[in-house]
């Protein structure tokens, strides 16, 4: 058996397809060319199709009058407003249901997740049943259930269900009393802000003092008292400058007060209950991910049980919980686009639905809608990266 000499003559260059760097360059150039050709093909087709249908591209349509009404508007809107205004209305409605959904889902999810770990067998099983039921049923089906099977079968306005003389629930929605702020109320938000700043200062001071002397105050309870007690004190001192406008039955419908439309209620309930089942699982696995040795070590240092949870378990669990939690929040906001199936006026329903149908500006409208969701995703993943960098374990 002869051994091939592994020595190349001086000045010999391998052919370019054997050179990894050149091969990579050529491959990437081909990829760019293919993608560019694909884009040119699509753009060419689109232009031909658009001119055949007589649609002009551009964002000029945003200034035109929309001419349709919207059931829930957070800022002033009439059918004389522009399409640009419908975009803002839709965006605000999406953010409203998304924000309230995130809050409700977190509360339910944390409670169920902790209940899932309860030493009480019955409570743990009930929490497990909740998780397994709602996680495995499509969200759209849950939205339909709450909307068509529950809220749309409620009695009419004349036979509304009344809770006290202030809250009414009927097929047209939930009616709540509306607070009317009289002059002098402006002081309360100011006090509230001042109280928050004061509590932050207290927490910072307490942390410094703790590091310097080892002594600490119950800042959590103290700041709670400051944040809620101070505004309450001012409220009483100024003579409670609030009156409540009650919803009153006038003819066939209620007038006055705040109306929460059933579409919002259904979407909010379904989103919160569905997402909470995922959050509960995240919370459970986050707490279980902390080795028991951590708790035992803390107990060996004779930390009281309350402090073991607060100083040892929860900070470590949060590191595991927060990344999947934010992606669930993101899912919730994206899922709020299912609003269009029951007619809640969110971004997709108002803008990618009605506006798209009226103007035919498919490309601009879909691009704007997608851009909104992409920007939200981008912001959240930027937060995630920042958070991960902040809480990452410092390893050798």
């Amino acid at each position: 058996m002869s051994v091939r000499p592994n020595v190349r003559p001086a000045g010999h260059k391998p052919p370019f397809w054997r050179d990894r760097a050149k091969r990579a360059l050529i491959f990437q150039l081909i990829l760019v060319a293919v993608v560019a050709a694909f884009l040119i093909y699509i753009i060419g087709n689109t232009q031909a199709n658009l001119s055949a249908r007589g649609i002009t591209t551009g964002f000029g349509f945003l200034g035109n009058t929309a001419g349709f009404g919207i059931g829930q508007t957070l800022i002033e809107y009439s059918s004389q407003s522009t399409y640009g205004r419908t975009f803002v209305i839709g965006l605000l409605n999406t953010l409203l249901v998304g924000g309230l959904g995130v809050i409700a889902a977190s509360i339910i999810g944390f409670i169920v997740g902790i209940a899932r770990l309860s030493p009480n067998w019955l409570i743990a099983k009930l929490a497990n049943a909740y998780i397994e039921t709602f996680r495995n049923i499509p969200l759209l089906l849950q939205i339909f259930f709450w909307y068509f099977a529950v809220l749309r079968t409620l009695p009419s306005a004349r036979e509304s269900m009344a809770f006290g003389e202030a809250i009414f629930l009927n097929v047209r929605g939930l009616y709540l009393p509306q607070p009317l702020f009289e002059s002098g109320f402006g002081l309360i938000p100011v006090t509230f802000v001042v109280a928050i700043i004061a509590s932050i200062a207290l927490i910072v001071w307490n942390k410094r003092r703790h590091e310097a002397t080892g002594k600490r105050l119950p800042v959590f309870w103290m700041s709670l008292v400051i944040i809620f007690g101070l505004p309450l004190l001012v409220l009483v001192a100024t003579g409670v400058p609030i009156t409540w406008e009650m919803p009153v039955l006038r003819g066939f419908n209620f007038g006055g007060g705040i109306t929460i439309i059933p579409e919002f209620l259904a979407l909010w309930l379904a989103l919160s209950i569905y997402t909470a089942s995922f959050i509960a699982e995240i919370v459970r696995s986050g707490i279980q991910a902390i080795p028991h040795g951590q708790t035992e070590a803390a107990q060996a240092l004779s930390l009281p049980r309350k402090l073991v949870l607060r100083l040892v378990v929860i900070p470590q669990a949060m590191r595991v919980i927060i990344p999947p939690l934010t992606s669930q929040y993101l899912n919730l906001i994206k899922n709020s686009s299912l609003a269009t199936a029951i007619g809640y006026p969110d971004l997709v329903s108002v803008f990618a639905g009605t506006t798209l149908n009226q103007t035919g500006q498919a490309i601009e409208v879909i691009a704007m809608t997608m851009a909104v969701y992409l920007i939200i995703s981008l912001l959240v993943s930027m937060f995630m990266n920042w958070f991960n960098a902040r809480v990452a374990l410092v390893e050798r």
Binding site: P119, N120, I137, A149, K334
Partner: protein, 366 residues
């Protein structure tokens, strides 16, 4: 010295540490707070279970063929019964149901074969499922060949359509996902950028806007003489959406393989594709299976969204049946039935994924 040669007879456990009473005391009534929670839990259970059982079973009506057979006290399962074949096959012509049934049976057979660990020839079965089964299903369901009458896709619906959308979306997304995941881990900057943008774009937008895009914008992108079937448009949207999620699952699996594996293979002189195909992927795929099943579950639930662009999947056909004037007012029954079907599928899949996770945990995880 005293040696006791006799074994001391076993003593029973101390009183109050075994048996149902001790279990109750240990798990339900240890301490006053826990007891209150237990009683509260029992009350909630009573409030939920008793009316539900009363409604769904005791007061329910099962037999009949019109709404007059329902007493309206409990659930009216007559409605579901009367519409059952529609819920399963959509508007598929009833004399052609046997074709869908054959496809259902083959599908169930393939799944059972792949899932039961003892059965042999898994690799051949997988090849059959991926290459031959789709052709057979298409020929059978769509017809137009071998004297089978054509059934156009707008008559497909019900559970059949749901399963079809989920499976095709999944099978189509797997290869795209693998390519994207490898691309995202590539050293070539342009390839990497393309893959990152592609993945993050589809992951960042809601599925419903993708379906809108597929149904509204796809016809604009293609030459006007080329018209794409509505079902195919939905499938394209679902596949692209799913491929981005799949890519992230696969990337996670690839990251879990120690770098030494790849380097050892390179040291043996293997090319990139050999290293990936023979060394890295087989190990990574094993770890990815639970993640893949989980994304499949979410895809399965997400297929319900196609009803918004006018396809009648299981939820779509139930929703359509609810607005039938002969059967108004049975929405709860319809939704409960649909929820039950979806729940069975999703729950068994998630249990299977948990089982796999335990079985495949061979200590590779770091």
């Amino acid at each position: 010295m005293i040696h006791n040669k006799e074994t001391i007879p076993q003593q029973p456990a101390p009183k109050g540490t075994i048996g149902p009473i001790a279990w109750l005391r240990g798990n339900l009534f240890n301490g006053p707070i826990n007891s209150i929670f237990t009683l509260l839990g029992l009350y909630v259970l009573y409030l939920l279970v008793v009316p539900t059982v009363q409604w769904a079973f005791i007061d329910a009506d099962w037999i009949g063929d019109s709404r007059e057979d329902c007493s309206r006290v409990g659930a009216c399962w007559v409605f579901v019964n009367a519409r059952f074949s529609q819920f399963m096959y959509g508007l598929y012509p009833s004399e052609e149901y046997w074709r869908a049934n054959i496809v259902f049976a083959m599908f169930a057979g393939i799944i059972a074969w792949m899932v039961i660990p003892r059965l042999p020839f898994k690799r051949w079965m997988a090849l059959f499922a991926l290459l031959i089964f789709p052709v057979i299903s298409y020929v059978l369901l769509h017809g137009g060949y071998f004297d089978l009458p054509r059934v156009s896709t707008h008559r497909w619906g019900g559970l059949m359509l749901t399963l079809l959308l989920a499976t095709v979306g999944m099978v189509g997304a797997l290869p795209i996902g693998i390519v994207l995941a490898l691309g995202r881990r590539s050293n070539m900057p342009i390839v990497k950028t393309f893959c990152v943008i592609f993945i993050e774009f589809w992951r960042g937008v809601p599925l419903i806007t993708i379906l809108f895009m597929a149904s509204v914008m796809l016809p604009l992108f293609l030459p006007s003489e080329l018209s794409v079937d509505r079902l195919v448009r939905a499938l394209i949207g679902l596949t692209l959406f799913q491929s981005a999620y799949m890519a992230e699952v696969i990337r996670g699996g690839l990251q879990a393989i120690p770098k030494g594996q790849d380097e050892a293979a390179a040291a043996l002189g293997m090319t990139y594709w050999k290293r990936m195909g023979l060394i890295v992927m087989p190990q990574a795929l094993k770890m990815m299976i639970p993640g893949i099943v989980n994304t499949f579950i979410s895809l399965f639930k997400d297929t319900t969204l196609v009803m918004i662009i006018g396809l009648f999947d299981l939820l779509g056909i139930v929703q359509a049946a609810l607005s039938d004037s002969r059967w108004l007012g049975f929405s709860i029954e319809g939704y409960v039935f649909a929820a039950f079907v979806f729940w069975i599928f999703c729950f068994s899949m998630s249990r299977y994924s948990q089982y796999l996770e335990r079985k495949l945990n061979t200590g590779h995880k770091q």
